[in-house]
Symmetry: C2
């Protein structure tokens, strides 16, 4: 099916929007009137630009407050429409969106509305134009899709059909099954948008909080199935009003938009993408560092051993249990400090995982970073993190460890068993994008987003995981782009005994993040923990949380560059990441930072 995007969904000048839509692979665009008005290009030039970029002008929008008004006003509206139809002819657009009236002058008279829509369609037909009539969720008298279809059917005009918009339908809680009663050829256009489930005024919700399908809480795929069963064969077009997208670069937003449409088509059974290959574990976490000593000192104190070194590059493998950390000193930028740069994901089919990622527009990285390297499939996540699809120790598949030369056996002295989770901070504009990427490209499940109070602003965090929890990635974002504290990342290591692990770390010279005594007084008030246990936690700075499935005990190392480590003892049934303790952790990190 053809894909399209409304220019209002992207930021920048009209030229920038068109270029971004074309580069992301869209077949067409809806041209939003305000974008045209503000453009120095004439309609003919815009038409030529679209043609050069391989974009059809699928829709011109919107025309407002047309129908169900006194005759005198309708005459003025027709005059206005004639101007717009002339413009559309110059633009090469053959479908116009007409939104149900919100005018106080509109009367509640279906017969009048149908009659006037029919006369509008008459005029449109003279210009070779089709009128797609859409029920706005906040329309004055017409606010549901079945009502708009009733008017279109009553009018019975060949140049008049309906435009369906998933936001307007799903935000009202309308049953989308009735769409199948509309003949497909009378559905002139389909606009798709998702939105988070918010209880708020629908106009505000629509204008500021829409998002791409798969980023919100609506069953957009279900709606699409009904529309396709009705026989609709027009384009799938995204129309998203979102305050954040308005500020983000148009290029990445357009790619994200196309990815959401591909995933939607797959969910609706109309796209043939390579099947998802869900990762089955974390093969390694790769740190880049301009200053290797502080990082390796922490790794050493945590009980890691430098077990191997890369044959061709300044990369060391540190290992303990199944936790592997690569420390890479090549290409690190001092200003950016030590950071998590790549994740190795165990994959049952690395090549298939890469094909899936590529089909979903993830940038594919060269298979060999150097001629002598083993071939490794890898893609870049939206935040720039490199994701390697690994098959550690699998027969008949390349093993990334072949590039490494053993230097020592792991001592496994620190009690660390494996990676529990990785926490990556997303750029401000990329939070929703990141969740969609990890779900669609990697086949991970996204948990609910949670707010976390930092002393200097709210942060949000959302985890993506596989079914057995052997891959857990927490995606975080700061409250505003200026919040530099939002840039800390961390690597959480699983242990069966966090008290023993923390003690060993400290005995080996490691520094744990100190937690205020007040936290432990509150813990005593909230939970019936034995005094001795509480004193141990207080002494070591261990935090405690509990959900219906069990307990979570965790502590933090001090931060090195942009990175810190967490030691985690997780009861098998516990689903979270200690979020209730995050404000205390963040305040303690700010305090250390200030004290330094």
């Amino acid at each position: 099916m053809r894909t399209s995007i409304a220019t209002v969904s992207l930021s920048g000048s009209l030229t920038e929007k068109l270029t971004a839509a074309s580069r992301a692979g869209f077949d067409g665009v809806e041209i939003f009137e305000n974008d045209l008005l503000a453009s120095p290009l004439t309609p003919e030039e815009i038409r030529a630009r679209c043609a050069d970029l391989g974009l059809a002008v699928e829709l011109y929008q919107p025309m407002r407050d047309i129908e169900a008004v006194p005759e005198e006003e309708f005459a003025r509206n027709l005059r206005r429409a004639r101007h717009k139809f002339e413009l559309m002819r110059r633009l090469g657009a053959d479908t116009v969106l007409v939104c149900s009236s919100v005018s106080p002058a509109a009367v509640d008279d279906d017969a009048l509305a149908a009659e006037q829509l029919s006369r509008l369609a008459d005029l449109a037909q003279d210009f070779g134009i089709r009128v797609a009539y859409e029920a706005l969720a906040w329309g004055r008298h017409v606010s549901t899709y079945d009502h708009s279809w009733h008017l279109v059917r009553t009018a019975g005009h060949p140049a008049l059909g309906v435009c369906l918009d998933s936001f307007h339908i799903l935000s009202r809680g309308s049953d989308p099954r009735g769409i199948e009663d509309i003949p497909g050829e009378k559905i002139f256009f389909l606009q798709l948008a998702d939105a988070p489930q918010l209880a708020m005024d629908v106009l505000q919700w629509s204008r500021h909080y829409r998002c791409f399908p798969g980023q919100g809480g609506f069953d957009v795929a279900g709606l699409l199935r009904h529309v396709l069963r009705a026989g609709y064969r027009g384009p799938l077009s995204l129309e998203v009003f979102n305050d954040v997208f308005r500020q983000a670069d148009a290029g990445p937003t357009a790619v994200d938009a196309r990815r959401s449409l591909l995933a939607l088509q797959e969910a609706a059974g109309t796209a043939d993408l390579p099947a998802p290959v869900v990762p089955t574990g974390v093969a390694f976490a790769e740190l880049v560092t301009p200053d290797v000593e502080p990082v390796t000192a922490v790794l050493d104190a945590l009980g890691f051993t430098r077990t191997a070194r890369h044959r061709g590059k300044p990369v060391d493998l540190w290992q303990q249990g199944q936790a592997r950390v690569l420390v890479n000193t090549a290409g690190a930028v001092r200003r950016e400090g030590t950071q998590l740069a790549a994740i190795g994901l165990e994959s049952p089919d690395p090549a298939g995982a890469a094909r899936r990622a590529e089909a979903l527009l993830a940038p594919v990285l060269p298979r060999r970073r150097a001629p002598e390297d083993a071939p490794l499939d890898a893609v870049a996540a939206p935040d720039g993190t490199e994701l390697f699809f690994c098959a550690t120790g699998q027969p008949h598949l390349p093993d990334w460890r072949a590039d490494f030369e053993d230097v020592a056996a792991p001592a496994d002295t620190g009690g660390v068993e494996r990676v529990d989770h990785l926490a990556l901070t997303q750029p401000w504009h990329h939070f929703d994008k990141a969740a969609l990427f990890h779900r669609s490209v990697l086949g991970l499940d996204a948990q609910e987003s949670v707010d976390v109070a930092d002393p200097y602003g709210l942060q949000r965090s959302r985890a993506v995981t596989n079914a057995d929890g052997s891959v857990r990635i927490a995606l975080g974002v700061g409250a505003a782009p200026t919040d530099d504290t939002a840039h800390a990342q961390h690597l959480a290591l699983a242990t069966g005994d966090v008290v023993a692990a923390a003690r060993r770390f400290r005995a080996a010279g490691g520094r744990l993040l100190p937690i205020p005594a007040n936290y432990y007084d509150d813990l005593a008030a909230r939970h019936d923990l034995p005094d001795e246990e509480l004193e141990t936690y207080r002494d070591l700075g261990i935090l405690y949380d509990r959900d219906a499935g069990g307990a979570f005990r965790h502590c933090y190392t001090e931060t090195v560059g942009r990175l810190f480590f967490e030691l985690v003892q997780r009861d098998p049934g516990y689903r979270g990441y200690g979020a209730p303790n995050a404000p205390v952790r963040l305040a303690a990190q700010h305090a250390r930072h200030t004290a330094r």
Copy 2:
């Protein structure tokens, strides 16, 4: 009355919050539990710190999910309460806030709730503590203030009273008159917050969008009057959860908070502030510039004459009609470019205006900037703009023009009559603050806030004016702190004939901002303007708007530094500022910027 602020209303560490509250002149604080938990200070140290800063610990908050639960759970709740009461004794806090339960375990049983609250109060009394019970707007069974009072009255315990919160009362639409039926001594605490009128889930509304009294849409002063009539004599305490304040510097936020309380007390008739002195006109606009030639070239083309120069400083007065522009080359920073730095406001009582401003915590500037200057009363607005209270040509009052030496008579050739409005861009965190400042300090009226779509993000704009429109200031803010385009300011000049003024400007070598042809095609579709008039607008780049009161015609000069000029022909009844045209103007400015 004593004033207080909840620590959750301010950003930073607990120490930073306390310092900011003290510096802004608050008498006390509510200590929010999470701020204490995250603080490295012990309760005793916090108590001492508050004492040093002259702050009473008015409240400890919140205690949640206490009442109307099965006995076994209540026993656990009492155990938790005992811990908190011990903590409060160390902290020196004698009132605790208990919020109505939101627990799914709570039962709808007023008798049980009252009985358990009474037992909680028994325990509290042993510690010398009072329990202030508050109905959360989203409480499970208790969500209105009269219900909370019913339980408190039923319990009949001397250590149990109600806490009233303006947000919880007004967001539910409860009638606040019933407050007068509560004996004043049973109102243990009063929390004050305002909020914008939003139709959204009340919990989200409360947690993210509260603001200080006078910044939102609630009649907080009306509520306060009822509380005072009931006989309440405790502190007035602000409790505001707001995503923006969480990120803003605590110091200015605390000053803003105190200013809002002062204005609230005045509105409720309990504060004795100097009366507002509303400005009656614009005496001058002062530009600072590191590069004088481009600015004076524009002024010259607009028909201004350099009529005078300052006797002691590199400041020139340019005049035309009643429009006066000071061009100051002292102290300008090249990086910041040409900008509006000060506004002279005509005042019937400059000294009184300054006293009012000082009483409302506006920073007062030295009366003489140099020993030889005439004494001028001036204060700084939150965005740093200096506001001078002037009495141009008033007998018996100092005239700022005395510092200037005439060099020429104004030629008045450009058709500019006076300043129509000034548009100032506010720092990202200061938008609500700015409106409150201009309303309370200057006695101006604030119009509704409007959204304006810039190609790279939404902007908001809100105008403050005096009654006859002779002072109009448009306060704008960008969509995000990274939006550098948000920093443009402008000076709008009123003319009786914008076509003639624009022609003269162009003939004199001035460059007007070009407006796309598409805009004029749309204007033809929307309004019945004569072709000739339309062609004239198209030629000159004149924009057109109309409201119920009349028409507005305007055009823009190109931008110099951070500043551009607007020529404005305003029908007397037109109230706006051409906001519907702003997206076209912004896109055109971006296009020029990119082309350069």
